[in-house]
Every structure is written in C-alpha cells, then in structure tokens.
Symmetry: C2
DNA sequence: AATTTTCATTTGTCAGACATTTAAAAGTCT
DNA sequence: AGACTTTTAAATGTCTGACAAATGAAAATT
C-alpha cells in the first residue's frame, strides 16, 4: 500500500484511497484488522491526525468500523444491505434534489425499475407479501388519512411488491430508488379522488400478483406511472399558472 | 444545527450527521459556504481536529468540497451523476463481493433492471447509440480478443443500451449495477463458442432497438440472462467437481 | 492603469498530551 | 481449583498549539 507523491490531493484523501483500493481488490479481507493509527502514521510517514482523517473518510463509506480499547482498532467492515441501502438513499435523494431532475424522468425511472421486479415477484410472492399489500391498501382507503401517512403507506406497499421478488440485490436497488423519489413525490397533493384511483391500481397489482400474472402487474404499473405523471404535471401546470398572474 | 449530548457516537460522527441533515433538508443550499473550521469548533464546542474529522466524513460522501485560502472553506457540493455513480459502484461492488451474493441472483437483478430500460431505449435510441453498439459487436467478433477486452466491450455495449433510454436516473442506477456485476462475471471463461452465442444475442438486441421493438429487446435480454446464468452454473459445477476429486 | 507586493484568512499537516475504553493478564479470595 | 476483582497495556477519541501553504483582496508601486 503506497501513496503517490505526485498526486496533488490531500494526504488524507490519498491514504484513504490506498486503503480503499486494498479493500476493493481483496488485499484486505473482511474483519481483518488494519494496523493501528500510530503504525499507519509511520508506514505512510504522516502524522496520526492525517491518518485519522483518512480513516474517518473510510468509515463514512462503511468500509471500516473502529473499536476502542486494547485489542480494538480499525477493521474491514462487511457492508450490509442495510448500510448500502442507507447510503444509496442519501446519495440518490441529494442527486435528484440538486440536479433539477424532472418529475417525469424520475417517475419513469422509478416505475421502470419496479416493473423489472414484476416477473420475479409474480413467481416468488407468498402470503405474507400479499397480506402486507392488502393491509396497506386498507389503510390507504381510510378517510382522513394525512398526506404523510398516505405516502408512508404507499412506500410500504411498493416495498412489499419489490420484496416479493425475493432478490436482495433488486430490493436494495429498488428500495433506494423508491425512497429517493419520495421528496419529489411530495409535490403532489393527493385528493380523495386521486387516492381512490391509486387504490384501484394498487388492488389490480395485488390481484395480479396473487394470480402470478406478471404481465398484468406490469400493465398496472404502467398505468400507475402514467397516472402519477399526470398528477405531477397538473401540479406543475397549476404552479406556473399561479406564478403568471 | 445541534448535536445530541445523549448520543453515544463519536463527536465527529454526530457533527457530520448534524451538517448532513442540514444539507438534506435544505437548510444549507448548494454552493453555500459552511462556517470555517474554527467557527464550527466554537459552535459545537469541540476542537478543530474533531470538526475536521466530521468534514472529512462529509467530503467522502461528496456532500462538501473544500478550498484552501483566504476566501476558501467548505462548500456544499452539488453532487454530480458522475460522483454518485462512482460511489454506487464502490458500494455495490463490495456489497456483492462481501455478502456471498449468488451468481444467479446478481444476474437476475442486473438483467431485470436492464430490461426496464427497453421501452425507453426503443423509443429514444438514436444513430449514435446504434453505431456504438454495432461497433462493440464488431470488436467482440474479432478473434484473439483477450478476456479483459471482451468484458470491457460487453460493458460498453450494455452501457450504450442503457444510455439509449435517455434517462439520466436510469443510466446512473443501471450503469452502477452493470459495473458492480463485473467482478462476478469474471468467473466465467468466455470460450469462442459462448462468445459467438452472445454476439448473436447482442445483434438481436441491436436489431430490435433499431426497429423500435421493445418486446423483442426484452425477449433477447431474457435469453441473454438465461444463457449467462447457464455459463455461470457450468463454471460453478466444474469447480465443485474439481474440488471433490 | 497595470503590475507587484503585502496581508489576512483558511485549510492542511504535525507534534504532543491526556481521557476513555477495552480485553487480557495478574492478583485475590473462597 | 475456580470465581471474582484489580491492574495494566494498548488502542481510539479529544484537545491544544503550532506552523506551512494556498489564495484572493487590498495596498503599494511602477
């Protein structure tokens, strides 16, 4: 593990990169203990503070974890789906909010990916998934539900659909995309009428899932995507009109 | 921006979280300058080293960038698709390699997501995309191509297909998934015979894309997925047989 | 007016100190 | 001997103070 003296970047960034590369290409394996901060400082010929800044960078990416005490230190972390998922949400959420991604583009992406789950979900869904989805539909149909609760239930519904695919990689990718979309979805005001329509589509999806009918799931998801985009466009049009007067 | 005195976590982690939250919920906007390290140290009542460790954590997530000099400091960073993409690859690659994700599961996820692009790609593809894909197919058909070059070309081919969807959110998600899969794909030994078959399927995909025929793209992608899984299973079976003797 | 110099501010790095945590090792008691 | 307590060494966490290096603004000079 060497750092490049010609590199213009900060020393702590260079050291973080060196260690990160060692982890990625397998020179450091899961749960292996890194040398102590003092040893690393000596190896890289920098101060302990600089090493610490490098380690904090790696910790922020969940690449290492640290433990205090005599036999503690920094250990290569086995990154979990949970952690990866959390990071993906942070990154994707900011990416969408900071780069003026249009509602339609985000909506297309989200439902396209969800549609990708349909065949697997149709095959692997079990009673639990169906029960969760029907329970969420029931919650959604209760009058007086706050917009927040509605959205939370919507996420839970789609989450169950994704999980029905029984593929942790898809779940991790999709759940991240769905949650990252939430802030954008919040521009929509869900009227009683639109909720009714969405509940219809949710019911269609659940029925199709129960019938192992992948094609119908996809069809309903396309309808849902189209309808959601309509709602979004209406809000945007209303805003523009309001700003013109 | 406050830190919670009851939180057991490291001070630098708490401070990083406080600033991260402020960025996520919009209290700090893009390109806004954070207080100087000395000021932050005073605000949070910690030492400058602790503040610096917190800032390095945020820098590792591309949430801030720092600049030296009189009017420098830490600025809220507009995270780009490039950066987000890079981070996703790092995270996903490690996630797959560290969590014993089976070849089949990863393969299913990858091709399912790619299939999600098909309808959009069929609609938005232009001559450039087709040209890129045909050029990669041509490269793939050259004899004596090294395994590395073959894989690189394969990635470029699929990247072009994804980009044809003309949806940056999909591109960012998909390109990450495809690249993260590469290390797993490397277990496969691409014989001349298997390359021939894959080139056939690539040609089918490109032809269907040219014809705006989304359904055929999806069909070919399913075939490609199935075939790739067969190749993977063969390798795994061969390994098991070898280890038994 | 253009150029150069000075200067204040800020991040990057270093050195050394002490606090805190932790598990092993040593000691003590029954 | 075995269970419990104390000690101890090693590691991270935090703080202080210092200096280097970069950088843009302001002042001085040509």
């Amino acid at each position: 593990m060497k750092i490049n003296p010609n590199d213009a970047a900060d020393l702590s960034a260079q050291i973080a990169k060196a260690i990160r590369d060692a982890i990625i290409n397998g020179q450091l394996i899961v749960d292996e203990r890194l040398p102590s901060e003092a040893e690393l400082a000596e190896q890289f010929d920098v101060s302990r503070s600089t090493v610490r800044e490098a380690l904090k960078r790696l910790a922020a990416q969940s690449l290492i974890r640290t433990q205090r005490g005599a036999f503690g230190g920094a250990f290569v972390n086995r990154i979990s789906f949970e952690e990866a998922h959390g990071q993906q949400i942070t990154t994707s959420t900011l990416l969408l909010s900071m780069n003026a991604v249009s509602f339609d583009v985000a909506c297309d992406a989200r439902f396209a990916m969800e549609r990708a789950c349909a065949p697997f979900a149709a095959e692997h869904r079990n009673a639990d998934h169906l029960a969760t989805m029907r329970a969420e539909i029931h919650r959604q149909s209760q009058p007086g539900l706050s917009d927040e609760s509605w959205c939370a239930s919507d996420v839970a519904f789609h989450r169950a659909l994704v999980d029905a695919a029984d593929n942790p990689v898809l779940s991790y990718q999709l759940a991240g995309a769905v949650e990252a979309m939430q802030p954008l979805m919040n521009i929509i005001t869900f009227t009683a009428r639109s909720r009714e329509r969405i509940i219809e589509l949710h019911t269609d999806i659940t029925d199709a899932l129960e019938a192992h009918d992948s094609a119908s799931i996809e069809k309903s998801l396309i309808n849902l995507s189209t309808y959601t985009k309509t709602l979004g466009d209406d809000v945007i049009a209303a805003k523009q009109k309001a700003s013109q007067t």
